[in-house]
Structures are given as structure tokens and as C-alpha cells.
């Protein structure tokens, strides 16, 4: 199928799916309709913003407690900036491949979609593996979340992001399975839109995280 065909199908999907906000069929009111894709995307955008607000509470906690090491190890002694650099590269590259996957889904190109989704999964899993290795290493050296208020806040903040990535990876596999089983239906494509928004938002949170926690932590 060519991209032009796909674009036509997109339009047909959008025309099929209307949420009539006026609630009746007056032809003069027909102008006041909105595609379901926009409603779903906007709703998910609101959810993502509230998720970011939740993260900002964790960030505020971390910023307040970052100096309270209770005589234990400081961030400067614990953080391995090289490891964080690799994690950042993984997540940034996975954000890019996630963008390719959403283009692939829009063009109904299975090769692009499955290839880019697989790359996104591998990069995300690589990020998660590096983070878990860092966490287990810290706990093994007696720098677990119970050591100091600083480490409690650190594990809460970075761990919360890690849990989001884990959920994102499970969602990613679900999306691949749904496209495989049901094809590029309009409802599946809306879920794919939400997934890609979620994955890009996780990368935005990671930008704040590696700056505030790791880079500023490693210089002070």
C-alpha cells in the first residue's frame, strides 16, 4: 500500500469516527464535530501533564533532601556519569525509533512499524538493565534507600521513572501484539498515538532527571 492510499484511509477513518458534541443531527450543527483521534490525544496529553506534576513532587522532595546524606555516601561518590551517558543515549535513541514506529503505523508499513518498535524495545530494555545494575550495585555497597534521606529520595525519584519505563515496555509489546492481531485499525492507531506520547514524555522527564540528579549531583 502506498503512503497516498494510507493517507486516504486515515481520512476515511477520521470521517467515520465523529463525536457529535451537539448531541443532535441538525445539519447546521454538523460543523461542530471533532475527530475522536483529537479527543483521545488531548485527553492523554492532560494525563501526561498530570503525571509530570506528580514527578515534580518527587523532584521537589529530592531537591530538598539532596544534601541530607546522614554521614553516608554523597551523589558525587556514587554516580557514574559514563553509565548515565549510555542510559541517556539509549533513551534518546529509543524516543527517535518510537517516532519512526508512529510514522510506520501511519503509513501501514509493517516493516517500519515492527522494526522500529523492536528497536525501541531493545533500547528501552537496555536502559532499564543499566539502571537496575546501578541500583543493585549501590545497594550492594551499603547505599540502599534506607541509608539516608538523600538515598530514599534518589531511589523514589529514579525508581519511579524506571517503573514508568517498565510499564512503557509492557505497553509497547501490547501494541505490537494488537497491531499483529487486529491490523492498523483506527482504534489501534489511537492507542499507538497515546503510547508514542507516553514514551516521548518519559524521555522529557529523563532530561530533567539526568540534569538535576546526576550531573548537578556529580559536580556538587
Amino acid at each position: 500500500m502506498t503512503p497516498a492510499d494510507a493517507a486516504l484511509m486515515d481520512k476515511a477513518d477520521m470521517a467515520d469516527e465523529k463525536v457529535d458534541r451537539s448531541g443532535h443531527d441538525d445539519p447546521h450543527e454538523a460543523a461542530d464535530v471533532i475527530s475522536k483521534r483529537i479527543v483521545v490525544g488531548y485527553g492523554f496529553w492532560i494525563f501526561l501533564l498530570s503525571d509530570i506534576v506528580m514527578f515534580s513532587a518527587f523532584f521537589a522532595t529530592y531537591a530538598v533532601l539532596s544534601g541530607e546524606t546522614a554521614g553516608g555516601p554523597t551523589g558525587r561518590q556514587l554516580f557514574d556519569v559514563r553509565n548515565v551517558g549510555i542510559e541517556t543515549a539509549c533513551l534518546l535513541a529509543s524516543s527517535f525509533t518510537c517516532g519512526l514506529a508512529s510514522i510506520g503505523a501511519r503509513l501501514r508499513s509493517s516493516r517500519w512499524f515492527y522494526g522500529a518498535m523492536t528497536a525501541t524495545f531493545l533500547l528501552g530494555a537496555g536502559f532499564l538493565g543499566l539502571e537496575l545494575r546501578e541500583f543493585t550495585g549501590m545497594v550492594a555497597h551499603g547505599a540502599g534507600p534506607t541509608r539516608s534521606a538523600f538515598l530514599s529520595a534518589f531511589f523514589a525519584l529514579v525508581g519511579c521513572h524506571g517503573l514508568h519505563v517498565t510499564a512503557g515496555l509492557l505497553w509497547l509489546l501490547t501494541m505490537m501484539a494488537q497491531v499483529f492481531a487486529k491490523g492498523y485499525r483506527a482504534d489501534i492507531l489511537r492507542r499507538m498515538l497515546c503510547f508514542s506520547l507516553f514514551w516521548h514524555a518519559l524521555d522529557i522527564i529523563w532530561v530533567a532527571l539526568f540534569t538535576v540528579v546526576y550531573l548537578i549531583g556529580s559536580i556538587s
Partner: protein, 124 residues
């Protein structure tokens, strides 16, 4: 809100985050390039001694904000066009709440710390 949705010949008057008309790989490549550049600069100035020390945290925060902007524009396709007003308004409210939460917490806790540091009068 969306007035032209029923007429495929006309552009929609609203856009959802993540969707952009004429979206293509070049868009993502530019975003990837800019984000990589900003990340590399961040990691570089955090470890170099070429930059005046006290300025580094400020520079890192500015670079992080710039990179978040790059992600919003090139990956989430948030624009300042009229079809994006709802998205930008929601974003602005989110940023306001985040700012109040962060600045408020740091401000209050810094004052609390300061007051706790006051030397207490010794009891006989």
C-alpha cells in the same frame, strides 16, 4: 473547536499532540540531532574545568530546558499554531503547577532549615 473536520479538503482546525501534518523522518532527525547536541554539551560542561564553577548548575538547567523544548517541538509536535492552542494552554498550566510545586517546596524548606539552624538558648 474543529469546524472543518467533516470536509477532508480543508485542514483541521485542531491538532492533537503527537500528530503533525506532513510529519516525516526529517522532523525526527532534526530533533534527534539537536537533542544529542544539547545532551553532549550538558555532559561536557558538567565534567570540564574550563567553565567557571558556580555557573555550571545554571548552565545545566538552561540546557535541560532547551532540550525539553526540542523534545516538545520535534517529538511531541507541539507548535504555537492556532490548531495547537488547547495543547499549549494545557502545557502552560502544567508548567505553572510544576513551577509552584518546585519553587514553593524549596523556598519553604530553605526557610525552615534556616530557622532550625538558629542557636537555641541554653536551658539551665
Amino acid at each position: 473547536m474543529s469546524r472543518n473536520e467533516h470536509n477532508p479538503g480543508q485542514p483541521s482546525s485542531d491538532a492533537t499532540p503527537g500528530d503533525a501534518p506532513g510529519e516525516n523522518i526529517t522532523n525526527y532527525l532534526v530533533g534527534l540531532g539537536l537533542a544529542t547536541l544539547l545532551t553532549v554539551v550538558s555532559f561536557f560542561i558538567a565534567q570540564t574545568s574550563l567553565v567557571w564553577g558556580p555557573s555550571i548548575p545554571v548552565a545545566l538547567c538552561v540546557l535541560a530546558m532547551a532540550q525539553m523544548g526540542v523534545h516538545l517541538v520535534f517529538f511531541l509536535h507541539i507548535t504555537i499554531g492556532p490548531d495547537n492552542i488547547n495543547n499549549v494552554m494545557a502545557l502552560a498550566f502544567g508548567v505553572l503547577v510544576v513551577f509552584l510545586l518546585l519553587a514553593g517546596s524549596l523556598w519553604i524548606m530553605a526557610h525552615l532549615n534556616h530557622n532550625m539552624m538558629m542557636p537555641m538558648p541554653m536551658q539551665p
